[in-house]
Amino acid sequence: MAALKPGDPIPELRETPDRYLPHRYAGASGDFNPIHIDPEFATQVGLPGNILHGLYMMALVARANAALADGDPRALKRLSVQFRGMGVPEQEIVVTGTVSEVDGDRVVTECQAAQGDNRVIRNGEAEVEL
């Protein structure tokens, strides 16, 4: 990859979690909170339906940043995010970001994730070692 400089975008990541993604993520992660896997329960507690795990969406943000180093799992050194809107299955998630600092091999990005106008992850900051 050509040398990154502040202001450069990171490659956009687009992913549409299918209807059963929250169930597979529950199995993989061990988080079986019914708001993520039981539409009936979720509706009863005032949600629009079962919602995505915030940490799943964070994992997509992690992947978008690791892509700067071809997905090398050693590259991502730090990631912080804020969870805001609720993510839902069967709607495309778009992860975007911009390089904010470059110091030698270390790159800092500002990143976020959204489903349409719903900004599900805000104020993301990642540090990647290229």
Partner: protein, 146 residues
């Protein structure tokens, strides 16, 4: 009722998790981490790892187990039904490979209130079988209506 700060500094017993190959593959598949080092042992070894290496966010699998008793602890006093995950930070160290035994300790580092929201901040420290830190997590949970 104001949030109680009495439990700040409380630490819970460490929890040890053994990373297995199929669990690493399962997690990599669900988050779409398609680098062969997460799926193919030969590729992982060729890239310098001991065995299949986990994607960075696999840390939630082994560190969340240490957080669960902290969230449920009556001394902390979280109303789980009103809790949302507000923010998360991870700082990664040594990568985690299949076969590693990761020990995580959770600590309540801060409790504060803004309007009717209570903020509970936990830190988790995870080390592998050689004592090398694999991740440090800062977990911010928000409880509405305190």
């Amino acid at each position: 009722m104001p949030v109680s700060k009495d439990a700040i500094g409380k630490q819970w017993p460490p929890v040890t998790y053994e990373a297995g190959r199929e669990k690493v593959r399962e997690f990599a598949n669900v988050v779409g981490a398609d680098n062969p080092v997460h799926h193919d042992r030969e590729a992982a070894i060729a890239a310098g790892f001991r065995d299949l290496v986990a994607p960075p966010m696999f840390c939630v699998v082994y560190s969340a187990m240490a957080l669960a008793p902290a969230l449920l602890d009556p001394e902390v006093g979280i109303n789980l039904a009103a809790m949302v995950h507000g923010a998360q930070e991870f700082i990664w160290g040594e990568p985690v490979c299949s076969g590693d035994e990761i020990t995580t300790t959770a600590t309540l580092t801060d409790v504060f209130q803004k309007d009717d929201k209570g903020f509970y901040v936990f830190e988790s420290e995870s080390v592998n079988q050689d004592g090398a830190q694999t991740v440090r997590g800062v977990w911010t949970n928000i409880v509405r209506g305190v």
